[in-house]
């Protein structure tokens, strides 16, 4: 196994002091892989990704990125480190045009911005056609693509994605998740929180299952997909629903 990109060890965190949602949660994400976090509602999936992104105070444990401690990092310092965070909702600026959204994300790129913009527009042709439109006019799937394009504009090594398929049609959800898969081929690592367990497990490399704010099981995604115990305990209802 190559060295970890991101590692969380014994992370305890929550929204208010003395009321932790996460209890000593640990996980590892490896380079150019999709690391998936799943679990029933209220398991602490989004809380974990927000704690990693510096949006919630971590009261115990440590988070490292490329070996460096980022436990108490400020969210606006993530981009400079090479981490992009894509919030679940409200991840684009609706009153700005698509081009303005991208320009905002590209500011850090300096002289390399035009080339990077050209590459992004090539990668997301649907956005290229609508550059002058307000981002608020995009469909749900296109918004997620814009949010992902904005994340990529910061040239990240790791992207934290909080339920990118939430609220999308099954087809759009599949497109977004498949796009995430293609991103890893260029060397980007992805930490993905998902509710679409079946679809996500088929695309991911490794998976961590949380419940009630604690680690449950983890393992290679394809193994967990066919793991009966996992299905019964955590995914049973969803599996039947999705099939």
């Amino acid at each position: 196994m190559p060295e970890a990109v991101l590692e969380a060890r014994g992370v305890t965190a929550g929204y208010v002091p003395d009321l932790p949602i996460l209890h000593e949660v640990s996980l590892v994400a490896h380079p150019a892989q999709i690391t998936l976090i799943i679990g029933p509602n209220g398991a602490g999936k989004s809380t974990l990704i927000k704690a990693i992104a510096g949006l919630l105070p971590v009261s115990a444990g440590q988070i490292t990125f490329g070996g460096a401690d980022i436990t108490h990092i400020r969210t606006d310092q993530l981009a400079a480190r090479g981490i992009a965070y894509v919030p679940q909702t409200d991840n684009i600026f609706r009153s700005l045009t698509i081009r303005q959204n991208l320009d905002l994300a590209l500011r850090r790129a300096g002289a390399g911005a035009p080339a990077r913009l050209a590459r992004l527009l090539e990668q997301f042709p649907a956005l290229a056609d609508k550059q002058r439109d307000k981002a608020g006019t995009l469909s749900g799937g296109q918004r997620q693509f814009l949010a992902i394009a904005m994340a990529l504009a910061t040239a990240p090594k790791l992207i934290l994605m909080d339920e990118p398929s939430a609220g999308l049609s099954p087809k759009a959800a599949q497109e977004v998740l498949e796009h995430a898969r293609t991103l890893t081929r260029s060397g980007v690592s992805i930490l993905l929180v998902e509710q679409n367990v079946n679809q996500a497990l088929r695309l991911a490399d490794h998976c961590f299952i949380l419940a009630e704010g604690r680690n449950q099981i983890d393992g290679p995604a394809d193994a967990l997909l066919n793991n009966k115990v996992v299905g019964e305990i955590y995914l049973g209802a969803r599996r039947m629903g999705a099939a």
Binding site: A53, F93, L104, R108
Partner: protein, 318 residues
Amino acid sequence: MIGVISYLVFFATTASILAIAVLGLNLQWGNTGLFNGGVVAFFGAGAYGTLILGGTPQAGHLGGYGLFYPLALLGGMAIAGLVAWIVGLLTLRLRHDYLAIATFGVAVAFENLMRNAEWLAGGAKGVRGFERPLRDALGDGFTYNIFFFLVVLVILIATYLFLERLVASPFGRLLRAIREDEEAAQSLGKNPARVRLMAFITGSVILGLAGGLYGTFYAFVSPQDVLPTLTFQIWAMLIVGGAGNNRGAIFGAFLIWGAWTASGWALSRFAPIEAQLYTGSVQFILIGSVIVGMLMWRPHGLLPERLVVSQRGKTPSA
């Protein structure tokens, strides 16, 4: 006839000065979403600063530095910016209503300081001994008022153009992004606290500019000029005109100042004698009703911010 024109010039000068203040507030509220409830503190800092720096020596209070007028005005703006910097560092972590309450408190504290600290700015008697610039050459009459109006008008237009450019610049884009979603802006590596502080200071410097011109126009400022009423008037102008739209801000300033002046005149002329004493209070009720009514039925103002219009077909600006 000359009387009417003279009055119109006087009216337009005051309205233009207030329009500059509304533009400053618009940068804070309209473009950045900062609820500044203490407008008058920054307006007052500019007025007091300009008069103290540019005035003649006075016994009993600070001042009389006799600075060249443009320097005094810039100094007033700098003092407003300095006050905003301190207030901003202390309060900008607060959101919406809490920020409004905190800044309102700052404005009340400012008024009380000016009223009571006689050594600083003359206390209740105000700052005296300021000579309007070029008074020797132009006198005190109609010529001077026309000249001063033109100066204010040029400054108003310059402020408008500056803000239009600012809003269209990457910084303006960033302001709108942060107003819309702070978390998403943070995730792109932006520091919302710093950007908000910069917008707050810039808006307050513009409020200070308006205050400096106001003090210059009357060659006098006292605690009566920094009462909360002025904060509400400036807010009413922005809400009626259209927050987020600089033209709306200017339009609102002229409209509300016109309505304010007209209502004062109408009340003094037509209200029964017994009610004359209360015309000021009636005006407050009217301005409150206008704010509430606009917020209920036309919350985006008469000239709303242009947000939903597609910009298809425009040539790229970046």
